[in-house]
């Protein structure tokens, strides 16, 4: 729509700026000796292009950021007085209706005249805003272009200026990583705080009862909703625990075999094949857990006289473990290979067999790295979503029995947030509180793991 036209216009300005800047440098070179120029002609062009684009882009970004707020204030002010006195949430709904109306979407309920008028005002305001924006951007762009153009002289250090700008842009790009982390933390924290205003953090972290359905009517049964997340934590731990029981022995032994025993030919084929497991999308594992492994486990359970739920923690955990095998094995492979050959030779020289060398020398030496790998694997297991959404249960169940269905933190985040939601009820906000817990736990695990791995690596370098 409007935005892409604006961006194309800005890009056109850049191309124009480059060529006339370059042209000016080249043509003035016919008058003064070339060696008096500080930079190559392209840099003069680049200088003009940067000046015509960057201010305009900045304007555009600024406008895009504040436009929604301005529109909202203006439109809500234009609403009839009786609508304006409504509580903030209902006002928000009406505002959504207005926006949907303008965009031609289906509107939730019948609308009165005031809202229709507001919608028209919204559209009008938006269009005026857009026109003003385009005009301003063009003016700013052309002004920048003109200013930069006038500065072109042989003695002007265009290259220095261009390079400095590029370096600043590089710095800005590298700040995105920090901004993302900050963005995650702030947005999740902010919504969590709104949740904790309504439910005490103590109840959330230590409560044993989880039933987040708040009722539509206040007098309905179970309308209060209980937000004790302990059953979710235990469910997550149970499934991740099963996954680690599968992944750590298999992954570690596979890594040992590949690193210490396997012939080079086996290694070149088996290692990438094992890593295919890591490249399979998690939704595929989820499908597999739900439709293949779940029924098999139930049948086996029936054969043994056990009652295995079709959404048992065992099924989800097993498949998750398989998913993590290549993760554990490739990380352990790295650390095992990093153990200096001298340690092995020393052990063999004393007459130890290969397995004795591995168990008594290599594994102890590689232990910190392996611990780091396992910690990383645990953090991956805790945060894994699709497998558990598809193969684990929905009902919170405080149990340690792997044959029963349990639910996890990630499953609850998904169930709470998928579909329509209102952003003021604890029922929805609890997802952010759970997300915050997840984020903090995985962050700590990662920091510890990376630190352990790094310290260990330095030891042998």
């Amino acid at each position: 729509m409007g935005s892409s036209t604006v961006l194309i216009a800005i890009a056109g300005l850049a191309v124009l700026g480059y060529f006339i800047g370059r042209q000016r440098a080249v043509s003035s070179a016919s008058r003064v000796p070339v060696r008096t120029f500080h930079s190559l002609p392209g840099y003069y062009g680049g200088y003009v292009a940067l000046w015509s684009v960057l201010p305009a882009l900045l304007m555009f970004a600024l406008w895009s950021a504040i436009e929604p707020f301005i529109l909202r204030v203006q439109v809500l002010e234009s609403l009839p007085a009786e609508l304006q006195t409504l509580p903030a949430e209902q006002l928000g709904l009406i505002y959504n209706d207005i926006r949907n109306l303008v965009e031609g979407n289906v509107v939730s309920n019948t609308l009165d005249e005031g809202v229709r008028a507001a919608a028209e005002r919204y559209a009008a305001l938006r269009d005026t805003g857009r026109s003003i924006l385009i005009a301003t951007i063009l003016v700013v762009g052309i002004a920048g272009l003109g200013l930069a153009f006038r500065r072109i002289r042989p003695a002007f250090r265009a290259r220095i200026s261009v390079e400095r700008t590029i370096e600043r842009l590089l710095i800005a790009a590298s700040l995105v990583a920090i901004l993302t982390t900050l963005g995650i933390f702030v947005s999740v924290l902010f919504e969590s705080l709104r949740f904790f205003q309504q439910v005490s953090p103590f109840e959330f972290l230590f409560g044993l009862n989880w039933s987040p359905q708040t009722a539509i009517r206040a007098d309905q049964v179970g309308s209060s909703g209980a937000f004790g997340a302990v059953p979710l934590f235990t469910g997550t731990l149970l499934i991740s625990g099963i996954a680690m029981l599968v992944a750590v022995p298999v992954g570690l032994m596979a890594a040992i075999y590949l690193a210490e025993y396997a012939a080079a030919r086996v290694r070149t084929y088996a290692k990438p094949m094992l890593e295919i497991l890591a490249g399979i999308p998690t939704v595929v594992y989820g499908y597999f857990a739900a439709l293949t492994v779940g029924p098999i486990l139930r049948r086996v359970g029936e054969g043994l006289g056990l009652s295995v739920s079709s959404e048992s923690a065992l099924g989800a955990g097993l498949v998750m473990g398989i998913m993590i095998i290549p993760f554990v094995s490739s990380l352990s492979d790295d650390v095992i290979n990093a153990v200096p050959q001298a340690l092995r030779d020393g052990s063999y020289g004393l007459g130890a067999t290969r397995s004795e060398t591995i168990r008594r020398v290599i594994l102890p030496a590689a232990l910190p790295g392996i611990v780091g790998a396992v910690l990383l694997a645990v953090s991956r297991a805790i945060g894994e979503t699709m497998i558990v959404v598809m193969a684990a249960g929905l009902a919170a169940n405080l149990t340690a029995n792997p044959f029963e269905a349990v639910t996890t933190v990630t499953v609850q985040i998904v169930t709470v947030l998928v579909g329509d939601q209102e952003f003021d009820s604890p029922r929805t906000l609890v997802a952010f509180a759970l997300g915050l817990v997840l984020f903090i736990v995985t962050l700590i695990l990662n920091i510890v793991a990376l630190r352990v791995v790094r310290r260990y690596r330095e030891q042998y370098e």
């Binding site: 950021a65 926006r99 290259r159 390079e163 370096e167 590089l170 790009a173 590298s174 990583a177 920090i178 993302t180 982390t181 995650i184 999740v188 919504e191 992954g251 570690l252 032994m253 596979a254 075999y257 590949l258 210490e260 396997a262 094949m273 497991l277 490249g279 399979i280 999308p281 998690t282 939704v283 595929v284 989820g286 597999f288 439709l291 293949t292 398989i322 095998i325 067999t353 397995s355 004795e356 591995i358 168990r359 990383l376 953090s379 945060g383 979503t385 699709m386 598809m390 990630t410 985040i413 998904v414 947030l417 998928v418 997802a431 997300g435 997840l438 984020f439 995985t442 962050l443 990662n446």
Partner: protein
């Protein structure tokens, strides 16, 4: 029994030797079986997937002689598109099927008979007539689409010897099907809907095309954002950044972002992009934004590795002939590092293509029939389509889920193969 005291070290060693060799063998076997278990699962996995999925590429059709009756389609001979589009094609197809079974007359029986046909049969006939109105008045021999339950019976996914009450097909319908088969009027033909259609509640009309387009738009947004940002960050950190607390902080952040669970990125997308910035729900644009934040660390880490691999001699030579630092990086180091960066990018994109958890958060689980035409239209994505179909109860969706997974895996395979090829072909070892 008192054993004689060991006389020498040699004896001690010799006595333990057998046991130690046995342990050695066991340990080795254990390692081998661990590796074998991993590979066996991989094989089992592909076996069930392909076994479940390959049938979805075909679907059952009936050969019917459909009389394109002028009085039904266009009684006033206007041949106007509007009239042709609204005609009762379903009736025509049903008539053709009913004609084969003249003894079926009771209302309930007729309804059961007509249930053999898919609603898509009428749509196809309409398309045909609209494309060529000259067909009106003739009788055409065409392969019309069968209902998904019939399809499942023909493919053997619904067992015939089940109790009648346990299957979705009655004995009567099975008889009709058998008599049609006896007349060679039943055939498995290529399932074009699977590749051209969007979501549908009729499995025989459901396809992956709209989800594929949604995924494509999403990857486009992801690539446009994460590649430049990732490469720029890598260049800054590797070539320009001073070693100080700030750059350390950036590094730690990148490493941590690489391990943050994907669902948390979904929460960010929901809270920030949708609630604060007011971007539309279900749009590939938002999906692409979220995925590019996830892909960024992957690209940065790969790009930095590619930059480190460029030997210092290249840099020194460039500086030696008078290039500025920026010229050295942009003209010499970057081109040499580019293949490695592209490889990392493709791998990151492949990961983004398979990701679905954050997309559930930002509303991409919608039921999307139409093919999105821009990154702002509501869309689904390939893995999300897999998720949705896996949840559907119809048996026909099971094979479609597997088939969609096969398509997804083929895409991933192609991307990874490109990455490997790129590395083999262009990466220079110094």
């Amino acid at each position: 029994m008192n054993s004689p005291a060991p006389r020498s070290l040699k004896d001690v060693v010799a006595r333990g030797l057998k046991r130690r060799y046995r342990n050695e063998q066991t340990f080795r076997l254990l390692g081998m079986s661990a590796l074998a278990a991993g590979l066996a699962f991989l094989a089992f996995f592909f076996y069930t997937l392909i076994g479940n999925g390959y049938t979805a590429f075909q679907q059952t059709r009936f050969l019917l002689d459909v009389e394109l009756d002028e009085d039904t389609i266009d009684p006033e001979e206007t041949r106007a598109g509007e009239v042709l589009a609204r005609a009762n094609y379903l009736g025509l197809v049903r008539e053709a099927l009913g004609g084969l079974f003249p003894d079926v007359t009771a209302r309930g029986d007729l309804r059961a008979l007509y249930a053999l046909l898919s609603p898509g049969a009428a749509l196809e006939l309409r398309e045909r007539v609209l494309a060529d109105p000259a067909l009106i008045g003739t009788t055409q021999r065409i392969w019309v689409l069968a209902d998904d339950d019939i399809d499942m019976v023909v493919k053997g996914h619904i067992e015939r010897d089940l109790e009648e009450s346990d299957r979705r097909i009655t004995d009567r319908q099975l008889q009709w099907l058998d008599s049609l088969e006896a007349e060679h009027r039943v055939e498995l033909r290529f399932n074009r809907y699977f590749f051209t259609a969007g979501a549908s509640s009729d499995p025989e009309l459901a396809g992956i095309w709209s989800a594929t387009v949604g995924s494509f738009f999403m990857l486009l947004v992801t690539l446009a954002l994460s590649f430049p940002l990732g490469v720029a960050t890598a260049i800054y950190l590797e070539e320009f950044a001073p070693r100080n607390r700030w750059t350390d902080l950036i590094e730690v952040n990148i490493n941590n972002l690489a391990a943050v669970p994907s669902i948390v990125f979904g929460l960010l997308g929901l809270a920030l992009f949708i609630n604060v910035f007011g971007l539309p729900r279900s749009a590939p644009l938002v999906g692409g934004l979220v995925l590019s934040l996830m892909t960024l660390p992957v690209i940065i880490i790969a790009s930095r590795a590619a930059l480190t691999a460029v030997p210092p001699s290249i840099r020194e030579a460039a500086l030696g002939v008078g290039a500025s630092k920026m010229q050295m990086v942009l003209h010499h180091v970057l081109p040499l590092a580019m293949p490695g960066m592209l490889t990392g990018t493709i791998i990151g994109m492949a990961r983004a293509l398979g990701e679905s958890a954050p997309l559930l958060m930002i509303g991409m689980v919608a039921f999307i029939v139409d093919v999105p035409s821009s990154p702002l239209d509501p869309a689904s994505a390939l893995p999300v389509q897999v998720f949705l179909w896996a949840d559907s109860p119809e048996r026909a969706f099971v094979e479609r889920t597997s088939a969609a997974i096969i398509v997804l895996l083929v895409f991933l395979l192609l991307m990874n193969a490109t990455a490997i090829l790129l590395r083999k072909r262009f990466e220079r070892r110094f």
